[in-house]
Amino acid sequence: MAKRKAPTIAQANIMFFITAVVTLAGSVFFQPRLGIGTNLWINEFVYILFPPLLMAWINGWPIENVYRFRKISAKSKLISILSGFAIWPMAFTVSRITRMLLDNKIGVIESSGSLKLSIYQSLLIMIGTVILAPICEEIFFRGFVQRAYESRGNKQGFVIAALLFGFYHILNGISEVIPACILGLCLGFLVYRTGSLASSMLFHGTANLCAVLFGGVLAVHTSETIPAWLYIVALAGLCISVALLKSIREEAHDPEDNEEADRDKKTSAAGILFLVLTAVYLAAVGVFEIIGRLGIV
């Protein structure tokens, strides 16, 4: 039997499960010992970037084609950057609303107070968030997971990958799930339209840059209530971002992208099993946060 030239859904589900488990376990171990910035780099390089590269090496996949490392037009680049900038206020606002709801309805997670970060840790966080995370996470989620799910259809591919991307962010807190789903849908749509990870990396990098530049200041100013102007900016940003994304030209896809689409209509038992395991695991992470908010642990 010939080897597939692209990841299968089962491979994507297994890798997604392993990545989600080791990210949390690794963070619990490394973050207190090496710092939040170093831990971010370990997460991105080891647990998120390494699995798809390893899979490509084992299966002999040409990375440029399978993970869609393709050039895009200057216009597509600009649209990706602008739409990433425009969508960020909406992602931020949804995150704040969710967090406030959780804080008020369930309870606040007790914090030991903000700890001082060294200049090196701060730099690691900034570079990791703006450069490393967009590259590594796009290779994993859009290059590997979305590509695998595209065997069920291109639209299903990006929607499912967006949901997995969103629920993966439960590791950062329940309040990050919906914003990450929104961003995931935009990122997946960009790859679906352009057939290249370059667009989603630029979008992702811009949105993360906004979080680094404005997130801290806005979080302080919205700690009690969310001002009306932020809702207006968020809605306007969403509309602009959607309009920009819709305007992006569908670029010529590689015919290999869909050649095996018909062969993988059924997901293997292992694929389903690992998807269920991942759902249970991520739900448990969410329940653990709620228990923490209730003050039970």
């Binding site: 090496l34 910035g37 490392f69 309870g107 690691l124 209730l294 003050g295």
Partner: protein
């Protein structure tokens, strides 16, 4: 594009690796929040009995916050001596035993001191590690300090605004062991505030707030903290009991709650 991504990743790896190495070589195990003024003591240099580490003048009544860490295993005594009263304490001296406390572990303490000043002394044997004392002084709100000062001097019925009395008693001649003095039932998660004051200066007095999932024990002590003011907490739904243990004590006890 593959080359560009490879280049960025390799460059990032080189930069990141350098930053991690610099961070690790710079890290001494301490994590004192930046709001504190930091005093670092080299235990191989400063050791002995009651070695004066620093003195701080307080021109007005102040709230003084301490954050103490050490990367040395041996037990060291850090003594804070206030030249006037420390509200809620029977003595103007407080002693902490510090062992190895790094990363997120620390001794944290907040004291209300009257104006005058305070000194910090160390009793330690010669050791290789370091001791770090973070301290932050903030002028106390005059009306708040006056309220706490009254409580310190025995006028206990001075709760903060929004707090209501749920229990008060004279402790003289009372002997109680985990007697339930108040029960709180919550249907939903709620933020509450607790204030417990005692004027007992002898014997045993302990007030514990016990729930299925949250416990606050030893809220007051006759010598080491007669004032527990505005302890705020988010409580899960359930039943909470406030329990009193006392023996051979004197003075009064007042308990207030803000729901």
């Amino acid at each position: 594009m593959k080359k560009t991504i490879c280049f960025i990743l390799i460059l990032s790896l080189a930069v990141g690796f350098s930053l991690v190495i610099m961070d690790l070589s710079d890290w001494d195990g301490f994590n004192v929040p930046s709001r504190f003024e930091k005093v670092t003591v080299d235990l191989s240099d400063q050791f002995g009995t009651d070695v004066l580490l620093f003195r701080k003048e307080l021109n007005v009544p102040s709230t003084v916050e301490f954050f103490i860490q050490s990367n040395d295993d041996s037990a060291k005594n850090v003594k804070i001596v206030c030249e006037s009263e420390i509200l809620g304490f029977s003595s103007n001296e407080i002693e902490y035993t510090v062992t190895k406390l790094t990363g997120n572990s620390c001794i944290a303490s907040t004291l209300s001191m009257n104006k005058g000043g305070y000194s910090v002394y160390l009793t330690s044997e010669k050791a290789e590690g370091k001791l770090v004392i973070g301290h932050q002084e903030k002028a106390a709100d005059p009306s708040e300090f006056e309220r706490l000062y009254k409580i310190h001097n025995g006028d206990l019925n001075n709760p903060p605004e929004g707090y209501e009395e749920i229990y008060s008693t004279s402790l003289a001649g009372k002997s109680r062991k985990d007697e339930v003095i108040y029960t709180l039932s919550l249907d939903t998660a709620r933020n509450i505030g607790l204030s417990v004051y005692t004027s007992a200066k002898q014997g045993t007095v302990s007030v514990d707030f016990i729930g299925e999932y949250s416990n606050f024990t030893g809220l007051v002590h006759p010598q080491y903290g007669r004032i527990c003011d505005q302890l705020e907490a988010t409580l899960a739904p359930g039943e909470y009991r406030m329990k009193l243990t006392c023996e051979n004590a004197d003075g009064q006890l007042y308990v207030f709650i803000k729901k």
